[in-house]
Amino acid sequence: MTHWIILPLVMPPTVAALMILAMRHHLDLARIFAVGSGLALLAIALGLLWQASDGTVTAYHLGNWPAPYGIVLVLDRLSALLVALTVFLALVVTLYAIGTDWDACGKHFHALVQFQVMGLCGAFLTGDVFNLFVFFEVLLIASYGLMIHGGGELRLQSGVQYVVYNLLGSTLFLFALGAIYAVTGTLNMADLAARVAAMPAEDSGLVRVAAVLLFLVFAVKAALLPLHFWLPATYAQAPAPIAALFAVMTKVGAYAIIRLYTLVFGPGVAVTSGLFGEPLLWAALMTLAIGTMGILGSRSLGRLAAFAAIGSMGTLLTAVSLFTETATTAALYYMIHSTLAGAALFLVTDLVRAAKGQGADTLIPGPRFARQGLIAVLFFATAIAVAGLPPLSGFIGKLLVLDASRTAPQAAIIWAVILAGSLVAVLGLARAGSVLFWNTTKDLSPEPPATPLALVSVGLLLATLVAITLGAGPVISYLSATSAQLYDPVAYSAASIPLVDGMSP
C-alpha cells in the first residue's frame, strides 16, 4: 500500500508527457486521457484518504534513502484530505473546460493541468522543505502556462505581473531555505522540528529571520494583505476554469502555514513563540475586510469572484492564526468549503460571460441572455455559499470559526469583522446578482450553443457543497482528528524519520 503515495506524483506527468508527445493534434484523445487520469487519480486519492483516516502516518522514502538524508513523502490526514480535494477540483475543471471548449483555444491545456495537479499534490505530500520549494515551482510553472491560456492583450500583461511577483516570492523562498539550512543543517521537516525545538534561545536570531521570511513566502501564496496584489488581476484575467483551479492554489499557502507553523515553528517552540499568531490575525482580518469591500466595489463579475477568494482567505487565516485545535478544525472545514464555493463562483462567472458574449461580465444592465433563469439559480446558490448564509456549508464554516474564536482575547474584534464582512459580502453579491439578472432590457441576446457538461460540473461542485453541509458531522469529526494529529506531531516525526540501526538520525 505504501507505493500508492507516489502515484499522484508519477501518474499526472506521465499522462502529460504522453499528451504532449502523442496527442498534440488530437484533442479528443487528450480529453479522454485527461478525464481517465482524473478519475483514476480520484480513486487513488480516496484510497489514500481511507488509508490515512485511521490516524496512521505513512512515509514514503524515495529511492529508499534513509531520512533525513533522502527525500520523504508523508501521508497523514491533512495531506490526504487536500490531495483528494485537489484531484476532485481538477476533475471538475477538466469536465468544465471540455464542456465549454476552453481547452480548444490553445494547445496543451490538459497537459498543463496534469502538471499543475502534480505540483499541488507534491506540495501537500512532501515532508522536506526544499522539496516543497520544488513542487511550488512545478505548480507555478504550470500555472504560468494556464494563466495565459487563450492569449489576449490584458491576459498577457497581467500574466507578466503574476510571473514577476511569484518569481520574487520564489527568490525569497530560497533565501529563507538557505538561512534555515545554514543554522540547522537539515531540510527534512520532522528533523527540522527536532533541531529547532532543541535550539538554545540566545542564538535564535537567524532562525527567527528565516521563519519570518518563509512565512512571507506563504503569505504571498495565500494572498494575505498586504501581499495580495497579484491576485485580483490574475484571477479576473485568467480563463475562468483556470481561475477555478487556482482556488486551491491559495490554499497551498494556507496549508504550508498550517503544516510548518504547527510542526516546526509551533506555538510551543521557545525560539519562535509569539512571532506569528498576533500579526497573522491582524493581517487576516484586514484581508477579510479588503476582500469583502472588493466584492461590494467590483465592476465586473470576474473581479468580484477574485475578491471573494481574497475574503475567504481572510476568514480562513483568521481561524489559522489562533493556533488552537478547535480553530484549526474550523479553518480546515472552511478551507474545503471556500475552495469549492470559490471555484463554483468562477465557473458561474464563465457561464455568464459565455451567455452574454465575450468579456461582458461587467455589472451594468444589459439585454436578457439565453438560459438566464438557470444561470441565475446557479449564481444564487453559489452566492449563498460564498457569503456564508444558511443553509449551505459556508454558514457552518463561519459558525465554526466564530465558535473557535470565542475564547480568544480578541474575540470581540474577530466577531465584529467576520459578521460585518459577511453583511457587506451579501450586499455586494445581491447587488451583482440583481444588476445582472433582474435589471435587463427586453431584447434577447443571441443563444450560445448548449453546454450540458459545463452545467453538470457546476452542479457537481454545488452538490459537494450540499454533501459537506448534510454530512457536516462526519466531516468535522475527521477534521478534528486531523487537527489533533497536527498538534501532536510525534507520529508524523516518527514516521518520517524512523530510527536507523537504533541510532538517532
Binding site: I148, Q157, S158, Q161, S170, T171, G178, R299, S300
Partner: protein, 113 residues
C-alpha cells in the same frame, strides 16, 4: 573572503531589488536575474565557505565541504534559468500584442475586460 562574498550577495540583491521596482519589463527581468544570482551565492554559502576541500570524505581527507548546498544551487539554477526564459517570452508576447512594455496594467484593468 567572507567580507567579499557577503558584500557581493548584498550588492547583487540591492541592485536586483532596485531594478525590479522599475516600470518597464526589461529592467525588471534583469533585476530578477540579479536576484537569482544573489540567492544562488547565498545558498552556496549556507554550507559554510571552505577552501580546497573535497565534497565527500575520502581516504586521507580530514575535513570536507558540505555537498548538499551545491546540489540545491544546481536545482535553483536550473529552475531560475527556465523561469527567466519563460518571462522573457511572456514579456515579449505582452509587448508585441499591446505595444507597451510597461509592467503596469492599463487603468481600469479587468473592469471592462
Amino acid at each position: 573572503m567572507e567580507m567579499l562574498y557577503s558584500s557581493a550577495v548584498g550588492i547583487l540583491t540591492a541592485a536586483g531589488l532596485y531594478l525590479v521596482l522599475r516600470r518597464r519589463t526589461f529592467p525588471v527581468i534583469l533585476g530578477l536575474s540579479l536576484l537569482t544570482y544573489a540567492v544562488n551565492l547565498f545558498l552556496f554559502a549556507s554550507g559554510r565557505l571552505m577552501e580546497n576541500l573535497p565534497p565527500v570524505l575520502g581516504q586521507g581527507a580530514t575535513a570536507y565541504t558540505d555537498p548538499l548546498p551545491q546540489a540545491l544551487v544546481l536545482t535553483a539554477i536550473v529552475i531560475s534559468f527556465g523561469m527567466t526564459a519563460v518571462i522573457v517570452i511572456l514579456a515579449l508576447g505582452s509587448y508585441l500584442t499591446s505595444d507597451s512594455d510597461s509592467i503596469d496594467l492599463p487603468p481600469g484593468d479587468g473592469d471592462a475586460e
